[in-house]
Symmetry: C2
Subunit: 118 residues, 2 copies
DNA sequence: CGGCTCATACGATAATCCTCGTACTACGAG
DNA sequence: CTCGTAGTACGAGGATTATCGTATGAGCCG
């Protein structure tokens, strides 16, 4: 009862073998979601949904996190009322070695190039 | 007139600095387009649109090539009635070092893993 | 010129997607 | 139990997208 209690609801995640490259690329092709993933990678910790300051409503935020989860990019776990989000680095690195780092580096580069506030 | 004659029509391409990572990822998130890019990278040559055996009509093929061109992934040049397609490797490598290779490697890996006919 | 091929343009259709608002559930604190 | 907070579910509106069919243009060959 000690640990199962923290996972009140179960959230559907794709298994490692079910992760599709196209789905990952599609998930990251949205500026909002790319931003989420970048922040998640920057601080190497799990974050709650509400810790991201996104210029959209809560509904839309939920939607984006679901796309990220269903594509296999992030793992979501309930802890109390909060939902912790973590990058699935192990799975992605195992499936597509080097891809995640290249993508993050590319996003950083573009951010610098365009003078983004990041 | 000698060289401009070969380029009957001019096709709009984004400049190197205008290429956006999100657009590139979106372009590659479509299975059809990812396949095109993989073939283009495999044979390191320019290919005409009709040299790809895609399970869609010509109209749709044209559409996908336009998306790839407008996102900055491929460069298209007319040669006679044929339109030659080439990967913009220089531009992409310059903007996002290592990204293209990671993406192609990831696509190859997945193709092997899923037992695709490629 | 006349026909053939490669590719485009335009319109249409159906699906997907981003965004939002409102109503709702789950959990923890008092 | 009641309230507040975190997040979901559902539905809807509007934009983008993938696909197709048909008609059209641009260049080559006889």
């Amino acid at each position: 009862m000690t640990e199962t209690a923290t996972a009140g609801r179960a959230l559907p995640h794709p298994e490692r073998e079910e992760i599709r490259l196209e789905a990952v690329l599609h998930a990251l092709s949205d500026p909002m979601r790319l931003q989420i993933v970048r922040e998640l990678a920057a601080r190497e910790a799990e974050l709650t949904c509400s810790q991201f300051e996104l210029p959209v409503t809560k509904s839309t935020t939920t939607h984006h996190f679901r796309v990220l989860r269903e594509s296999g990019v992030v793992r979501q776990v309930y802890r109390g009322t909060a939902k912790m989000n973590g990058l699935r680095r192990d799975d992605l690195d195992s499936l597509f070695p080097g891809l995640l780092d290249s993508l993050l580096a590319a996003a950083d580069r573009q951010s610098v190039r365009l003078g983004d506030g990041a």
